[in-house]
Every structure is written in structure tokens, then in C-alpha cells.
Symmetry: C2
């Protein structure tokens, strides 16, 4: 992890010896008194902190010495036909690390019903994957994650969130870069589960004013397609121009 | 796999029962006599073939019933500071599936020397990863893969291959989309190993006329950054406009 996230902001805090954060600072960062570390407050500021003391028991006392804005989320949301848990784990991590604003999953006609029963979703594991992705990115903002029972409910929940485009390897009005107007300021990109959209789902998209687009002639895995779609959308809309370079 | 690749073209062939291809056709595709399958010839045509016979022993006789051009490689090459083998495996697969033209690895100053000793490189495992990526993509073209001893050798080998841009989270002339001229027709994108470039490597890039660019404020894993960089480059250069839709 590139940054240690805390749920609540503080100016100084003592992390109990047994906490993951204290262990990370002692064992991975091998911090001494005076070592500076990057921390962040969930959905808030990024901060530099200094190790003020290390108790014999292993408690770590941190003091914030400076704060700065964390990278803002991209105005891009993903709508995803529920994939197999292994794929969903990667998607959650990668989308969070790219700064996607929201991830909306739904049980598509070609999803396996068992996917929704995975412990990924019934435990906190999905949250953990998102958090790890945010920590990778050096950010603090967590994407919203939502689960919908069907495509129409998901589309209704996303109404007004941006230009709506569904990726489709078989039927499309053109390449993503052609279908996505350069003037758009936000986008929602839909990806099917690994076996793609059912004809009925294409109808739902079209009835709701979505456009179908492709990513080129190469057929990508869902997780690769998601990263490629976010990057292509960000490039097309001229997002990602800012970069905060920060040093400890 | 979406397509079964063969090293040499044929019009008809009998696949021995014990071959991976025969097993895949029998067990995964559960083919019967008359079943159509997608096949491809490495760096050549894609084809539809029909199962003409299945012997009791398990041999599979295929006959080509139609051929078509496979998706062309993208005019994008990657130059990559040798990453840990786990990351390299994903990179090989993903880059091959996206249709990257070439992958040039080199031991960067911040690569671990042990990475080059991995069985990934000393056995055929790296080739297998590339092939799986190509099969995923429904393509036949295999990217060139090269290993260089240092950055200058790699840069020299890539001379003339396109606009040269090195991704850098710390020092950059701007976003990839700003640094990359829209009029370029091909590009080489360099990515550091997980700990980034050494100052000396930045000097080598600059002396050789490379520009440094960033992918935005979010810090991505190498494998995610590679996919994002290829997608953003393809979007910026207006590649990926063609899509061959094909049905069995």
C-alpha cells in the first residue's frame, strides 16, 4: 500500500500495537521515531505524518505535519454485469485505483446466479478490495459500490450520471472514441459479464437512450476491458490532466 | 480461449487424441461431428473449421470452411522495466490480448536482479502467456518479445518505432494525452518497474529525445498502468476504429 487510510481524520493518534496500521508502519515501513509516512482520511485529505513515539508494546504514535487534497474521483461510473468473483475482485481493485466514481453491478441475464452468493459480497471482502485499490492509487476517495437486481433498475439508478455507453463486441454504433462526444463531462460505461449481453438487454439499453460502442477488434477479458474503457474515456474527455506530485 | 491457434496453416488436419487442441475441442467445446470452431494460424489468418470426424481413440479431424483476416496488431510497443514475475505474467497476457505490437523488457536500475532468473523467462512460460492472451483476443498475431540488458540497448533497438514516451509519476511534461501528438501514427510507451525510474534513467530517456508523461494523479500498479496506457494511446491516435464482427 502507498498510503495508510483511516476512517476518521485526526491531528495526532496512537495506533494500538495490534492494529494493521501499526503493524504496517513497524514491519513493512520499518519506521523509527521521526520517520515520515503518508496517510489519508477516507473520502478526505491526504496527509504526511511523523512517527512521534514507538512504545515497547508496539503502539505507534503519529502526528500529522501537513495535509493536501487527495486526487478527485474521475467523473466516470461503471455498470457491470456481475462477473465471477475472481474477476470482480480485480475489477474492484483496479477501478478503485483508477479513481472511478461509482461501480454499479447487476445480475445480467448471462451472469451465473452463484456469482452473487460469493463470500466476496456477503462479507466485507468487497470493501477490502476497494480500500486496497484506493491505497494503491495514493488516494482517499472510495467509489460508491451498488448491487442491482436487474439492468433496468441499475439504469434508473444511474439516470443523469453522464453520457451512457454500453460496450458490445457484436453490435455497436462505432468505436468508443467515436460514440463518446469529446464535449461530454462525465460518462457511464457498461460492460457485460463474460458471455456478453442478451438481446433483451441490448433492447433495454437502446430504449433508455444508451449507445453501443466497441473497444476495437481485440476481445478482452472483462477486467482488462474495464481498465481500457476507463482509460480511453478519460483520454477522450481530456480528464487526468492534473497531477499532484507529492514527496514525504 | 476464444480461438484455437496452430503454428502452421492447413486446410484439413487430424489432431492426435492426446494434443491440447483435440482435448479442448472434445472436452471444453464438447464438439460433435459437424460442430464449427474458430481456429487461427499464428501470425496469419483466422478461420472457421468444422469437425469432420471424431475417432474412438479421440483424434479430431478438422476441415477449414472459411478464412478471414485476423485483427492487426496496434502500432504501439511497450518498453518495460522488468517487473516481478507475477506482474510480468499479467502484462504478457494483457498486452497480447490488446494487440500490442512488441514488448521490450529490460533490467531497470530498480528491478530486482532475481526477476530475470524466474522460470517465467528460462522456460517457455512467457510464450505460453502471450499465446493465451492472443487466444483471448480472438487474434492470431503474437507480439514480438525482447529482453535487453539495459535501458540504452532497449532504446536503441526501438529506434524509429514511433513517438517515444516514458510514463513517470514524478517528473513529466504533462498528461499522456497532451504529450502525445494526435497526428502520430505509432508509439512506444515506457513503464518503469514498480519503484519507478532512477534519475539516471530519466537522463537516458531525455538524451534520446523521449518525453516524460503521466497518466493522471492516481498511482496504478504496473499491469494496470500498461493496459491504461495502451488504451489511452489508442484512443488519442484514433486507433481501434475498425471492428471485425464474426460469427461461426
Amino acid at each position: 500500500m502507498n498510503i495508510i487510510l483511516f476512517d476518521e481524520p485526526f491531528e495526532s493518534a496512537t495506533l494500538p500495537a495490534g492494529s494493521e496500521e501499526a503493524k504496517h508502519i513497524r514491519k513493512v515501513l520499518r519506521a523509527q521515531v521521526g520517520t515520515k509516512v503518508f496517510i489519508g482520511f477516507v473520502n478526505g485529505l491526504r496527509a504526511r505524518a511523523v512517527v512521534k513515539s514507538l512504545s515497547d508494546a508496539g503502539d505507534v504514535e503519529l502526528e500529522v505535519i501537513g495535509t493536501e487534497a487527495a486526487p478527485k474521483p474521475l467523473p466516470i461510473s461503471l455498470l457491470i454485469g456481475l462477473p465471477r468473483p475472481h474477476t470482480a475482485k480485480r475489477l474492484l481493485f483496479d477501478a478503485a485505483s483508477m479513481g472511478v466514481r461509482a461501480l454499479h453491478f447487476f445480475e445480467s441475464e448471462r451472469s451465473e446466479p452463484s456469482y452473487a452468493q460469493s463470500s466476496l459480497w456477503s462479507t466485507n471482502e468487497w470493501r477490502e478490495r476497494v480500500r486496497l485499490g484506493v491505497e494503491q492509487s495514493f488516494g482517499t476517495y472510495h467509489p460508491e459500490v451498488a448491487m442491482h437486481s436487474d439492468l433496468q433498475s441499475a439504469i434508473s439508478a444511474l439516470f443523469g450520471a453522464g453520457i451512457n455507453i454500453a460496450l458490445d463486441n457484436y453490435e455497436s454504433a462505432g468505436a468508443l472514441g467515436e460514440v463518446l462526444p469529446e464535449s461530454a463531462t462525465s460518462a457511464v460505461i457498461a460492460l457485460g459479464s463474460e458471455r456478453g449481453w442478451a438481446p433483451n438487454e441490448r433492447d433495454v439499453f437502446r430504449k433508455n437512450g444508451w449507445k453501443l460502442a466497441h473497444l476495437g477488434p481485440h476481445v478482452l477479458r472483462s477486467e482488462t476491458a474495464a481498465v481500457a474503457a476507463v482509460a480511453a474515456t478519460a483520454a477522450r474527455l481530456g480528464l487526468c490532466k492534473e497531477q499532484t506530485v507529492t514527496e514525504l
